[in-house]
């Protein structure tokens, strides 16, 4: 496991709200408008997909073996569903890409294998998530992250902020976040380092 890092805001003590929980299935708590958009897109798509799944599974025609109309319906309606998913999805994707007027630039550089030894952890800290030096950034400020790497491919990700961007050696990638509340936000390298 490589490149553990974390974003810490204000001087609040470690509150482990924004860390993954064991066997967690859902998202972590939202802390930025971008991630809010991602979660609401996911939720609305899942709502309609499950609705379709449930309503269509009630219809069973055991002795029907041919029907032009029904074939047309099950060919065309999935296409319409895909279009209905694509539009809000692209809208969100391109909105998240924009970095218009940041007030602060944070440079993130990926390195191979830094780890805080277990003996250095304090009570309540998370192995493989906690770091020795936390990065402190202000809330309600548009922050630009410039992400790069020194050795191999890494990936800078903070789930609560909706950030996930490749750290590539020799290339500067840009992403942004606006953090809406104070907290300790954890993240890990989200790439098989070097692959």
């Amino acid at each position: 496991m490589c490149s553990n890092y974390l974003v810490r805001l204000n001087s609040t003590p470690s509150i482990l709200l924004d860390a993954p929980a064991p066997w967690q299935i859902g998202f972590q708590d939202v802390a930025s408008p971008g991630f809010e958009g991602i979660v609401s897109l996911h939720d609305s798509i899942m709502f309609y997909l499950i609705l379709i799944l449930v309503t269509k599974s009630g219809i069973v025609y055991k002795y029907l073996n041919h029907g032009t109309l029904i074939e047309l319906i099950w060919t065309i309606s999935p296409a319409l569903v895909l279009i209905a998913i694509a539009f809000p999805s692209f809208k969100l994707l391109y909105t998240l890409d924009e970095v218009i007027d940041p007030a602060l630039t944070v440079k993130v550089t990926g390195h191979q294998c830094y780890m805080v030894p277990e003996s250095d952890l304090e009570e309540g800290q998370l192995r493989l998530l906690d770091v020795d030096n936390r990065l402190m950034v202000p809330v309600n400020t548009h922050i630009r992250f410039i992400v790069t790497s020194t050795d191999v491919l890494h990936d800078f990700a903070v789930p609560s902020l909706g950030i996930k961007i490749d750290a590539t050696p020799g290339r500067l990638n840009q992403t942004s976040a606006l953090i809406e509340r104070t907290g300790v936000f954890y993240g890990q390298c989200s790439e098989l380092c070097g692959v």
Binding site: D97, V99, I100, D101, P102, A103, L104, T105, K107, T109, P138, T141, R144, I146, T148, T150, I165, G170, R171, L172, N173, Q174, T175
Partner: protein, 79 residues
């Protein structure tokens, strides 16, 4: 006491960094860093160190380029 007094007076800080540049609208900002670095040195060569508008390029490349990256450039600038 001194600490209490310092707490009462909020220090006003203005956060500023290089903004959006229409030449570099993409996620990849490598050229943005590089071009700002080149522009700064061109500017200084043409107008001298004290020319205030050059500071804009200086701040841009200082904000965008990682330290080790900026350290690599000078050799390539040699004529």
């Amino acid at each position: 006491m001194a600490e209490a007094a310092a707490e009462e007076k909020p220090v006003k800080r203005i956060l500023q960094t290089v903004g959006f540049d229409a030449r570099f609208p993409n996620t990849n900002q490598t050229r943005h860093c590089f071009q700002s670095y080149i522009d700064y040195h061109k500017c200084v060569n043409a107008k001298g160190e004290d020319f205030a508008p050059c500071k804009q390029f200086f701040r841009a490349y200082k904000s965008l380029c990682p330290k080790r990256e900026a350290g690599k450039f000078p050799a390539s600038l040699e004529p």
